[in-house]
Amino acid sequence: MKFWARRTSWLICGMLAAGFFPPQSWASGDGALRTQASDIAQKHLLSFVGEPLPGNPAAQGAPSFYGPEILYQYMDGGADVYLLYDFQVLLHQDLKSGQAELTVDIFDMGNSEDAFGMYAAERAPGYSFLDIGVEAYRNEGILNFLQDRYYIKLAGFGPGSDDLLEKLARVLSERIGGARSLPALLEKLPQEHRVKHSEQFTRKDPLGHRFLSPAYLVSYKQGEWESKLLISVAKDPAEAKARLESLTKYFRESGKCEAAPDLGDGAIQASNTFEGRVIATAQGRYLIVVINPASDAAALLKKTAQDLK
């Protein structure tokens, strides 16, 4: 978890250092709408939580909407990660059914890839997963799931709330519709030794390196040995090669780097005190990196390159 905490902090600090500010202000639920687009987005979100809902809950006040500039009012520092994934708008609604109190938070992340990125940023392989939407996990009092461009977080308190959470999630999933699959690239990556539910997507500064943006990251485990497979997605093969050169330059300056022709054209093996050991190659528009490679990681690298052709 320390790895993820470090990675997330790099992303956020880099973004803030770049002076990133979301472009548009949004009003909260009791304020005036600012743009036609926001009006449409809010109405669309509202359609998901209209009656009837399981347990016939009563709304506890009007729904609130938070845009990028005011999300912090609801989540303080927790908002910044959402902004990294191009968060668009949040609908927040409190409900009550008998003694059960429910909170519905629907985050519109703009597109399914960013929604996956945000969902996966808060997910851990050890969670208790269930089949709702693309994927869902739950624990006492919470149920979060991913579907299409939305990341939905439900919380429940009081007797009967956990049962209601699942029913509510299924109704919301039906209403949302849209895409119910993980990003297509993940389907192509090797399955053997893959740690289920470990996949992540980072739009900005993966591992703290802007030139790797955006990238997918997947864990592989053999016994106690854990490696990470990073797929940096470039525009085209030329850019992928340029990224490999940047990676090479970085490792030459920070540690050691040498050519590894047996791993592929232009492939490298490198190490430094921060990332440790890596092997990398470019294939098409992808830069493929294995971090902390196991003894047979060459096979993983080559298979990945083959599967991404």
């Binding site: 978890m1 905490a5 997330t8 902090s9 520092g77 624990n139 009092g141 308190f157």
Partner: protein, 311 residues
């Protein structure tokens, strides 16, 4: 003064001089300077049942404060005490996003035993305040112990000179400044932006305005708050800690038991020890490093020879 040894005289003079530079609760720093600086109480077992956890939390809090000499070292008869827990989130106590209500209630009770006239418990919540105060269990526990526990009134934030490195002024809750004593009661949590939220970060709950602007330079903005408030006492709740997806949390799978409460007069030392409860080091947290650089306290908490109690 004529009969006191030269070293004691010089030390008192130095402390007095330092006090002149300090914030709203400055004069009591002198009183707080006499006695142990750090006290760590740990429970050997880790009870699962709610009553067991409640008893553990109460005992650890009492023991940690007793290790500093007791609440009477910090609270005088007639004092108005501001107790600042984390009531930021609409979460249950088990979810470890807010301070343990039994820790808060025990502190309130100890303040009254020490002679406080009034104890106020409040926070500028991030989630809707009314539900956060209720769901965290803090409002009920604090009021049962006799505290005034209320949601902050937006109209009571007043622009206040902080004379900070990056914050010349900011909106501070006026009632907090009107108190005689300030006790900071954070919970140890992972934080997605700054890796850890502990005591210094918890001070954000006494200010208003556009707090997201703090995030542009947490290393300095938080330390400006720490330099301004300088709590008389910090009591860090480490009974349950949130190890991932902070500050909001919510998933019990992210909560781990550490069965520890830490009390101290050195807010940097308390936070430094707090990082270890999250598997970090003080050097990992930029605002702790900055606070240490600005001499608000020490990251080397062991150098304070903390009093340790195993219960």
């Amino acid at each position: 003064m004529r009969d006191c040894p030269r070293r004691t005289f010089l030390k008192t003079l130095a402390l007095g001089g330092a006090a002149l530079k300090l914030g709203p609760f400055a004069w009591d720093v002198l009183a707080a300077a006499s006695g142990p600086a750090l006290s760590i109480a740990h429970y050997r077992s880790s009870p699962k049942e709610p009553d067991g956890i409640a008893e553990e939390s109460q005992r650890l809090t009492r023991e940690a404060i007793a290790g500093l000499g007791g609440m009477q070292r910090f609270v005088n008869r007639g004092d108005i005490v501001w107790v600042k827990p984390n009531i930021g989130w609409n979460r249950r106590p088990e979810q470890a996003a807010t301070t343990n209500p039994d820790v808060v209630a025990t502190i309130v009770a100890l303040c009254y035993q020490a002679g406080a006239k009034r104890v106020i418990v409040s926070d500028n919540s991030c989630n809707p305040a009314v539900t956060s105060f209720a769901r965290s269990g803090i409002q009920e526990a604090a009021q049962k112990a006799g505290a005034d526990c209320f949601v902050m009134d937006d109209r009571k934030f007043k622009s206040t000179k902080l004379n900070g490195k990056v914050l010349p002024a900011w909106d501070v809750y006026a009632d907090a400044l009107g108190a005689n004593k300030f006790i900071n009661v954070p919970i140890a949590k992972h934080h997605g932006l700054c890796k850890a939220t502990l005591g210094i970060k918890n001070l954000m709950g006494v200010v208003g305005g556009e707090r997201n602007r703090f995030h542009q330079d947490l290393g300095n903005t938080l330390v400006d708050l720490a330099a301004f408030f300088r709590p008389n006492l910090v009591v860090l709740d480490g009974v349950r800690v949130l190890t991932a997806n902070g500050p909001t949390g919510g998933n019990l799978a992210d909560v781990q038991r550490r069965d520890t409460v830490v009390a101290g007069v050195d807010q940097v030392a308390v936070d430094s020890f707090g990082t270890t409860l999250l598997g970090l080091k003080p050097q990992d947290i930029n605002y702790i490093v900055e606070a240490s650089n600005r001499k608000l306290g020490t990251m080397d908490y062991e150098s304070l020879k903390p009093r340790r109690a195993e219960l």
